[in-house]
Symmetry: C2
C-alpha cells in the first residue's frame, strides 16, 4: 500500500503549453522542455540530424544566423512567414537536407516560431531542451520515459497563436507516455482528445488547418505531409553547448 502511494506520488508532472506567450505561467526548472514546431522547424531539425548533420545551431535572429554561419563555416538557413530569408542560403524545408548534402555539416537555423520558443525555454531555466515532431516521435517518447523528469510540451504556434499541428503532436506524445506521468491540465486533455480523434485521418485533417493554407500557396504540400509522418527521421535532437546534436 505504501509502495503504491509512493509510486503514484513520485510520477513526474507533464503539462502542455499551447503558445510561447503562455510559457512563463509554468515553472521550467528541473523540467525537460520539448520544443514542437511541426510545420516545419522541428521536422527539419530531426531530418537534418538524422541525415548526418554534425550539429544545428538554432538562433533567434537573421543577423546572428549570418555571423554565426561565418564563424562556424556552417550553412545559414531560415524562414520568415514561410519563405527563405534574403541573405541566407537555405530555407526551412526538410527536403532541402538530404544526406548527400548535409552529412558532416553545421546548420545555423532561424525560424518564425520554433527557434524563438527554444531560446525562451533556455532563458526560463529548463534543465533539458529537446525538439520533437512526428518524424521523431518515438525518440522523443523514449527520452522522456528514460529521464523520468517533469515535462513541458511546448507548442510553438504561429506568431504566438495556437495551432493544431503542434497540439496534435503533443497529443501523440501524451497518448504514448501518459501512464508514467501525472497529467492534470486541460491543455493536455484537449491535445490527447484531438489526437485520438484525428490520428487515423491525419492527412485529410491537416488540410483544414490555418498553417496548411498559409504554406500550401508556396507549393509545400509534400513538405507538410512529410512533417506528419511518424518516425521517418527518428533521432533525438538535444540542446547541448549551444547546439542541437543527436542525444
Amino acid at each position: 500500500m505504501c509502495f503504491i502511494i509512493f509510486a503514484v506520488m513520485s510520477k513526474p508532472v507533464l503539462h502542455t503549453v499551447l503558445s510561447p506567450k503562455l510559457l512563463d505561467i509554468y515553472d521550467c526548472t528541473d523540467t525537460i522542455v520539448v520544443i514542437i514546431d511541426v510545420f516545419r522547424a522541428t521536422s527539419t531539425i530531426a531530418t537534418a540530424l538524422y541525415n548526418g548533420a554534425t550539429r544545428i545551431i538554432p538562433v533567434d535572429s537573421v543577423e546572428k544566423c549570418i555571423s554565426i554561419g561565418a564563424q562556424t563555416k556552417g550553412i545559414t538557413a531560415g524562414e520568415r512567414d514561410g519563405k527563405v530569408i534574403p541573405g541566407l542560403q537555405y530555407g526551412n524545408s526538410p527536403a532541402e537536407y538530404p544526406e548527400s548534402f548535409i552529412k558532416g555539416k553545421t546548420l545555423v537555423l532561424t525560424t518564425t516560431n520554433g527557434t524563438k520558443l527554444l531560446h525562451m525555454a533556455l532563458n526560463a531555466g529548463a534543465s533539458d531542451v529537446i525538439t520533437g515532431s512526428f518524424p521523431n516521435l518515438s525518440a522523443v517518447c523514449d527520452f522522456l520515459l528514460k529521464e523520468n523528469k517533469h515535462v513541458l510540451l511546448g507548442c510553438s504556434g504561429w506568431k504566438d497563436k495556437f495551432n493544431l499541428e503542434d497540439t496534435l503532436f503533443a497529443g501523440a506524445v501524451i497518448s504514448r507516455i501518459k501512464e508514467h506521468f501525472s497529467i492534470h491540465c486541460d491543455s493536455s486533455l484537449m491535445a490527447e482528445e484531438m489526437y485520438a480523434q484525428h490520428k487515423d485521418n491525419m492527412l485529410p485533417f491537416i488540410r483544414k488547418l490555418t498553417h496548411w493554407h498559409r504554406l500550401e500557396k508556396f507549393g509545400l504540400e509534400k513538405d507538410l505531409e512529410y512533417c506528419c509522418s511518424v518516425d521517418v527521421a527518428n533521432v533525438l535532437p538535444l540542446y547541448k553547448n549551444g547546439a542541437l546534436i543527436v542525444g
Copy 2:
C-alpha cells in the same frame, strides 16, 4: 454571381482567444468581445441580471469592489481561487442571486479571471463587450447575428491557463453561428470539434476538467452543473457606462 462574391467577402471575422494572455495578439477595434468565464463569473452575471439585478459593476480589485459598493449602495461580491473574499458580502455562485434577493439591486463583482479579462477587452478598445455562458447561450448568439460585426470569443481560463469549459462554450457559439462569419483559426476549429464531441455528454465530461477538481472540494458540484445548463438565464449582459445591464 457578384452578389454571392460580395456576400462571402462581407462576412465579419470570428476568432477564439484561448487565454487572456493571448488577447493582445488580436485587434479588438470594431469588434464585439464576448467574455467567457463559465465557472462561474459569466454564469453568475447572466443569472443575476435574469433575476432582476438592475446592473452589475465588474471591477478588477477588491479595493474597488468595496469602495464602489459603498458609493452605489450595491452588494459587494467576489471570489479568489474559488472562495468568497474576506471583506466582501457575497461570493461568485449563481445560486446566491435568486430573484427574491437580487431584484432591483446593484451587484459589484470581482473574480479571479472573468472580470479581469473584461477590463482587458475594454482597455484594448473593443467596440462592444458582452458576457456569455451556457445559461445565456441563445441570447449571445442572437446578439452576434443581429450586430453582424467582427467577434472575439474570449476565454478567461484560470490564471491565464487554457481551460476546457470556456472553450466548450466558444464551440457552442461557433456551432450555432458559423455560417454567418468568416472563421479561419485553429482555436475556433478546435473549440467547435471539442464541443461537437462532448455536447451530448457534457455533465460526465466536465468532471474530468481541472476547474471541476479545483471547485468540487468546496461542494460546488451543483453550481458547476448549473453553469453548463443551456438558456436557464437567457439574457444578454451588455457593458454600457461602466456596468453590465440587460442589452
